[in-house]
Subunit: 191 residues, 4 copies
DNA sequence: GATGAATGAGCATTCATTCAT
DNA sequence: TATGAATGAATGCTCATTCAT
């Protein structure tokens, strides 16, 4: 019986991690991070409770990993490349993707939203997110600068806030919120 | 000889209730509804845990009372009168108040925001809020109708979402968020 | 405002006590002594919790009083006179009354039965009951002695046990238990 | 390398369950089901409170298991075989065993008796017991039918009640109750 | 790598009892 | 006499985490 090679182990580990994070995403989103129990996550991941602690040091560590994942996922679907210069066309695309993508994975986004306002968790969240967000925000500020705004940084923040508000309402009431109207409105105002 | 009069008891009860709700507001806002313990609320209110249950049937009932309070407070500070017709001047006022008032009582608003995305709690929240919100939303839709928008209801929702997004960012980063820019932007776009 | 006279107070006290005991009987019987709360007893008696402690030192004291009451009630309905000599006719009457009276106030008897097997309560119960029971048991033993039994005391205890068993089953299943058959059986065997 | 095998775990589980039930039996019997605390049961079982909930979903579930156990134990010691026809000899044996067996494990029986009259618990108890009791009661009714009684079912119930009464007194006062006299009396009357 | 038995601190809630009025 | 606000210890139960295997 030859033992698994290190490489094989690495693959197994990655798979297991993904499995756990996927389970955690659903359970946390459904019940809220604090109410959700590690047992339930383990059960959903079809592994033992003990094994979870082999992969993540604590429940909080699972959350942290989830948040990092979320960010990477978001950057991917928005096709962010922090080195390009944003054109009007590209800006429109960002708006469209931002509004419609959350609807494809509402669990992920609801979880994220629910965390932002949980003071104790938010700090952890921001510690992970902010450094990663910076370049993207800079990029958008540059776009607004090109548009001739006095205070492009401020404009970028107003835009971000507006977009977040619309995403939020889309998530909370996906069937009734007028996403299309919102999209057109955003494009008219900001592009 | 005689015990406390009914009136005296009524006063005590009202005071205590306010005391408990105030404590709960802070503790829930700081730690999130689920993480916060009844013990901590009681300690902050400087009463015994048992007494809390003399005033509220459960932790959830405290939350419910808090939410009702919040709504009434919001309607007051926005000086809402659902029978008036909203003028441009009045609409400007609503925007200004909406942006700056949360900053005066950030705890209240953070709590509210944290609840919206807590799936299990959100239902409870919406059951209390929606019927109360309806008339105000209608009033704003009428304003947009007067402005000649094709779909005033949709516009109202986009406006609400935008405003919520801006309030949210104000709350999360009060020192850096450009509230003044946001206000001017909202007035320019919607009034 | 003249104060109440001592005599008037005494009457009020007796009434109140009866009121409390009646409430306690029902609440204890319905929920069991331990599960029943003093609050509920007070509510049923339509007095304040505090006042209960004016009349009884503790929940246990209420129970004790209830048991004493129960015993007196039982002795009354059985028309016990410890000085008479029991005749066959009288013995038949005791059997009949013993079987059918519990059915008229099942609450009282169920409570009593539920207490007998609650070790902690049973001691208290027996401390109150046994001294009061003694003479009546003696009286019955005398009856069996007259019947020529070798060990009349033993016979009395077997009879008591039999009677208790039948009472118990009557109470537990009043609609189906063949009380009439049981009565006839007892009379045939013991008289 | 590998964790405990399923078989090993099964053994541990069975042992622990027995340990908990044994502890619960004593604690419940001594203090009554309602008064007894889960903590005390755990302490007596020399395990943590938490572990109890690994084995039983609730305090009530422990009780239920105890009752089922009790019944099985009773059927065993009475050597019940619901398919046999009861002879006089066998009937005598049932009487003897019924009187003397409770004395060997008084805790078990006292617990059982204490539950019968605890209205809320009794339902649970009967739901478990009645379906199991039925065939045995039928068997005894058949015996009385064979004896030529008019209403063998009624006779069976009178007999059961008598037996219960005698068991009850035996348990409550094992040192003084004339068990031998009772046994002879029962045999004389019913066999 | 993997299990699940085991822990102990913590939770929301209840309740007998006290006491200022 | 009468009230009910107030207490604090106790209750049934949950759960993140540890650890022997």
């Amino acid at each position: 019986m030859s033992p698994r090679t290190t490489a094989q182990n690495e693959i197994i580990r990655e798979e297991r991690k993904a499995q756990i994070l996927d389970a955690a995403l659903h359970v946390f989103a459904e019940e809220g991070y604090h109410s959700a129990s590690v047992s339930k996550v383990a059960k959903r991941a079809e592994i033992s409770k003990g094994l979870m602690y082999n992969y993540f040091q604590s429940k909080e560590e699972v959350l942290r990993a989830l948040v990092v994942d979320l960010f990477e996922y978001a950057m991917n679907v928005l096709k962010v490349d922090v080195n390009e210069t944003i054109t009007d066309e590209r800006f429109k695309e960002i708006i469209e993707l931002s509004i419609f993508i959350p609807l494809e994975e509402p669990q992920r986004w609801k979880l994220y939203m629910s965390l932002v306002f949980q003071q104790d968790v938010a700090e952890l969240l921001m510690a992970e997110m902010l450094p990663r967000m910076g370049p993207f925000m800079k990029q958008m500020a540059d776009y607004f600068e090109g548009k001739g705004y006095d205070d492009p940084m401020a404009m970028m923040r107003v835009f971000s806030a507006t977009l977040d508000g619309i995403q939020m309402h889309c998530l909370l009431d996906p069937t009734n919120f007028p996403a299309e109207t919102a999209k057109e409105y955003l494009i008219k105002q900001f592009v």
